[in-house]
């Protein structure tokens, strides 16, 4: 038994906003944006946030694995939807992890992801690390161009790891290149050249050197260098300063995804794992008020992993979006006329949410111990008209089942932040059905019989009270037209 990274997964939202559309809309104000109008960035659908992306990345990592052995959960982000509600607790419940494990939010720095991973690797027992980010950005700001939304997840523990940690190093520095406070919605950032010259270059290479020294390795031993950074060629400059071969520098996914904040070092690490062969040594760095450096050696189990979407699969699961004003509307950055139907009160009675958390958050249904019928939601009396037994329901998870569209509509009357509202009856092959919202679907994909997977999403936003409620939605199971 070896201790290391047992599994990895990622999530990148399906919508990709073309940077050209951002530049064209805002160049009148800031002509410099024109030069940045290349490639695309991942953007959340209206019903996604750090929590929903974290759940999907973790599910990607946990494919084919028993979740019962997970002893801790670390959720890293600087954009948690809740300031005082354990976001990791919500992820835990959606993933149906044991409620007797330690669930912790790791926050407040762009290196929250690497710090959570380093912490997991320094402990015993199985830890699920997940990092997700959906950074707010002012219209026409450089960060709007450079960031992307996304999440990554790593399972750490004893077993047959895909990689083991050779060494890690860390350092702290109250170097404030940007900040966001409890009172400010957006980042306030200092000059990029200063960040590079007085921040990255003096802080990162020494941390790398200490890490390599602890691992008794030389810079030339690094085969993959995962160094996030939005300045052009920043990673190459740091590699040069640290004497790491330039060929080891990995693509920072700027062209296809954008920088996913606290999740990005882990997202780049997952992408590196997808390309890795046994014996590779991957160095990953997180930067933010100091730096974390972690050096991994890839092990033979890397070639025996079950299929997952990961970074590559999620990048391929893509729908281009050219409509910049839709992006602004999704992020509530424009006062848009949503119509009187949007005024419907979306109060969530918290007592009812707690009482029904298995149904709503975990998507647990029931299985009749007498007749075997599956149903959602669970109820005291079996739904099978030929059974109707009382108190025979055993918990049955529905989140990982594939369902098929039995009936559907594209509704233009009801309020939806992204009309038309697509929903319909989803029927699960081994039993059970429910009238559900669809997401990540185009009208042309609405056909009876289409296979749909379940995804954890924002169900409704209570604009009066700032609460978000979550539930599961159906999305096309195969990328199909994507």
């Amino acid at each position: 038994m070896t201790f290391g990274v047992l599994a990895y997964g990622a999530y990148i939202p399906r919508l990709r906003l073309s940077r050209r559309s951002v530049a064209e809309a805002n160049a009148w104000l800031n002509p410099a944006l024109k030069a940045q109008g290349k490639g695309e960035r991942a953007i959340c659908n209206w019903d996604e946030d750090a929590v929903t992306m974290a759940v999907e990345a973790a599910r990607d990592a946990l494919i084919g694995r028993d979740r019962a052995s997970i002893a801790s959960l670390r959720f890293a982000s600087t954009t948690f939807p809740f300031l005082d509600r354990l976001n990791a607790g919500l992820v835990l419940k959606a993933l149906r992890l044991s409620d007797e494990i330690a669930a912790v939010d790791v926050a407040a720095t762009q290196r929250a992801g690497t710090s959570a991973l380093a912490d997991a690797l320094s402990r015993s027992g199985e830890t699920l690390v997940v990092a997700a980010e959906k950074r707010p950005a002012k219209a026409a700001s450089p960060i709007e161009m450079s960031t992307g939304d996304g999440a990554a997840s790593l399972l750490v523990g004893e077993g047959e790891p895909v990689a083991r940690l050779l060494a890690s190093a860390t350092c702290a520095a109250d170097f404030v290149d940007h900040y966001r406070t409890i009172d400010s919605e957006y980042d306030y950032q200092w000059e990029e050249r200063w960040i590079r010259d007085a921040g990255y270059l003096p802080i990162v290479p020494p941390a790398i050197a200490r890490c390599l020294k602890a691992a008794k390795m030389t810079p030339a031993d690094v085969t993959s260098f995962c160094m996030p950074g939005v300045l052009p060629r920043l990673a190459n400059t740091i590699a040069k300063a640290a004497r790491i071969p330039d060929a080891a520098v990995r693509d920072n996914l700027h062209a296809s995804c954008g920088e996913t904040g606290a999740a990005h070092p882990l997202l780049m690490l997952v992408a590196a794992f997808e390309d890795a062969k046994p014996g590779d040594r991957i160095l990953v760095v997180g930067f933010g008020q100091g730096a974390d450096a972690l050096l991994f050696e890839v092990l033979p189990a890397i070639s025996r992993q079950p299929a997952r979407l990961g970074v590559k699969g999620h990048l391929a699961r893509r729908r281009p979006e050219e409509n910049y004003s839709k992006f602004l509307a999704f992020n509530d950055m424009v006062e848009i006329e949503r119509g009187m139907r949007a005024e419907a009160d979306k109060l969530t009675p918290l007592s009812a949410l707690w009482r029904n958390a298995d149904t709503v958050t975990s998507f647990m249904g029931g299985k009749c111990a007498k007749c075997g019928t599956l149903q959602f939601p669970k109820s005291r009396i079996c739904v099978n008209p030929n059974c109707n037994s009382i108190d025979t329901q055993e918990p049955e998870p529905f989140a990982d089942k594939i369902g098929r569209i039995n009936s559907y509509t594209a509704d233009r009357l009801t309020y939806s932040p992204d009309p038309p509202a697509c929903y319909g009856m989803i029927q699960f092959e081994d039993g059970g059905r429910w009238m559900m919202d669809f997401t990540d679907i185009d009208e042309a994909d609405l056909t009876v019989g289409r296979a749909m997977k379940m995804m954890f999403r924002i169900k409704d936003i209570d604009t009066q009270r700032g609460f978000k409620r979550y539930f599961w939605k159906a999305a096309p199971a195969a990328s199909g037209r994507d």
Binding site: G339, M340, R341, A344, K346, T348, P349, A352, L353, N356, T359, V360, T373, Q375, F376, P377, S379, V383, N384, P385, N406, S407, Y408, T409, A410, D411, R412, L413, T414, Y415, S416, P420, A421, Y423, G424, M425, Q427, G431, G432, R433, W434, M435, M436, D437, E443, L446, V448, G449, K459, D460, R469, F471
Partner: protein, 401 residues
């Protein structure tokens, strides 16, 4: 089986307000409008009414809870008054309460009144109705058209119907209802339309366009019922009696169990069978002379023709296109314009349908009167969603029929 309600109760009088956007009227005014007509038709005074039932479905939009608004509006003399709500079957539910009261002998004369004032919402279409605390957490924010549009998807899949054929039959249904509504002075929508209008209308919820959807209206309808003997004693000739009253309510099977395929109304099939049995009807297609069904959407009417066991399963498209249900066809459906054009003030709709049968049977339907007054007819309401609903059926006819 219980003996049922057949011929135990007679309709003594009926009234119906004009339906439409009644900007100058409160719900209470609409109630009085229907009541005054019904009272005069019955030829009685208020003090002769022993008990009353009020139907409203979206009471939070107008009168509020309880039966008090009816008692106050009609100045009912401290009699038992009950408010009922059962989605779009509410009006028939009130009628059922009054009919059962008379049949039981608890009341000699009873009143049922349905009302809805829907045009104080500030926007078109129905508001989203309360769905319950837990349902709010998992149900889509489904609109009525979005829910009923799904029938079309499942129906096409089951019967391999070409989308264009289904859409054409749905269009025929709407054109027919507009033709019929044009002849009805109390109807909300009185304009004639063409098939092109229907087919080219803006989409509300695929495949339902604007003209596949019924009107959202203000209105009220009222029935006063008694025993056939009392009706005769009060001088009524051509007494119209209740032949059957049935209700079937979904129990979650369609919503949760894979035995339902989504292409039909399980409740309607069951409720109509029970109603035919209660009324002693063996061949509804041949026996019924007139039907008023819950055409909230064109596709609902089409599918309902099969669920009422009048069209063979899978053949409603043909019957509709053949004109079987047209005003001059063998079995007219919505001769008054239906929900589509008469309008759909929810609590009033079931009673409005019975009102039309009652007028037609007495030869009092004006320009839209069938040449041969019908002897027996059926009304149908469907409240809720295809996968979870309340279906009510009433059959009324001449006492001697």
């Amino acid at each position: 089986m219980a003996k049922g309600i057949r011929d135990k109760v007679a309709i003594l009088g009926m009234g119906c307000s004009k339906f439409g956007e009644r900007w100058d009227m409160n719900a209470e005014d609409l109630m009085v409008e229907a009541y005054v007509e019904a009272l005069a038709d019955a030829g009685i005074e208020t003090k002769q009414i022993d008990a009353a039932w009020l139907a409203t479905a979206l009471e939070e939009q107008h009168v509020g809870k309880s039966a008090i608004p009816l008692a106050v509006a009609l100045r009912l003399p401290y009699i038992p008054v009950t408010r009922v709500e059962n989605y779009c079957a509410s009006g028939t539910e009130a009628f059922r309460g009054a009919v059962y009261a008379v049949a039981s002998g608890a009341a000699d004369i009873a009143l049922a009144l349905g009302v809805e004032k829907l045009k104080d919402t500030g926007y078109g279409g129905l508001p989203q109705r309360g769905r319950g605390t837990l349902n709010n957490m998992t149900w889509p924010n489904a609109s009525a058209p979005g829910s009923f549009a799904q029938l079309a998807a499942a129906y096409r899949a089951k019967h391999s119907s070409a989308p264009a054929d289904l859409k054409q039959a749905m269009g025929h249904i709407s054109v027919k209802s507009h033709d019929n509504g044009a002849k009805n002075p109390k109807a909300h929508l009185r304009n004639r339309i063409t098939l092109d209008t229907v087919l080219n209308a803006p989409m509300v919820a695929e495949p339902l366009g604007l003209y596949d959807c019924c009107g959202v209206s203000d209105g009220s309808a009222c029935a006063i019922v008694t025993t056939p003997d009392i009706a005769k004693g009060l001088g009524k000739r051509d007494v119209i009696t209740v032949k059957a009253l049935q209700l079937a309510v979904s129990n979650g099977t369609e919503a949760q169990h894979n035995s339902w395929d989504g292409s039909y109304f399980a409740t309607t099939r069951i409720a109509s069978k029970r109603a035919y049995q209660e009324a002693g009807i063996e061949k509804p297609r041949e026996t019924l002379n007139l039907i008023e069904v819950h055409d909230c959407f064109s596709v609902t009417e089409l599918v309902t023709m099969e669920d009422l066991h009048i069209s063979e399963e899978g053949s409603a498209i043909n019957d509709v296109l053949d004109g079987f249900y047209d005003a001059d066809g063998p079995l007219p459906c919505q001769i008054d314009g239906g929900l589509k054009c008469f309008g759909h003030p929810i609590g009033a709709s079931g009673l409005r349908m019975i009102y039309e049968l009652y007028l037609q049977m007495q030869g009092r339907a004006g320009e839209r009167q069938r040449r041969e007054p019908p002897a027996i007819g059926l009304t149908h309401n469907l409240g809720g969603f295809p996968h979870q609903n309340v279906c009510s059926i009433s059959i009324v006819g001449r006492y001697d029929a």
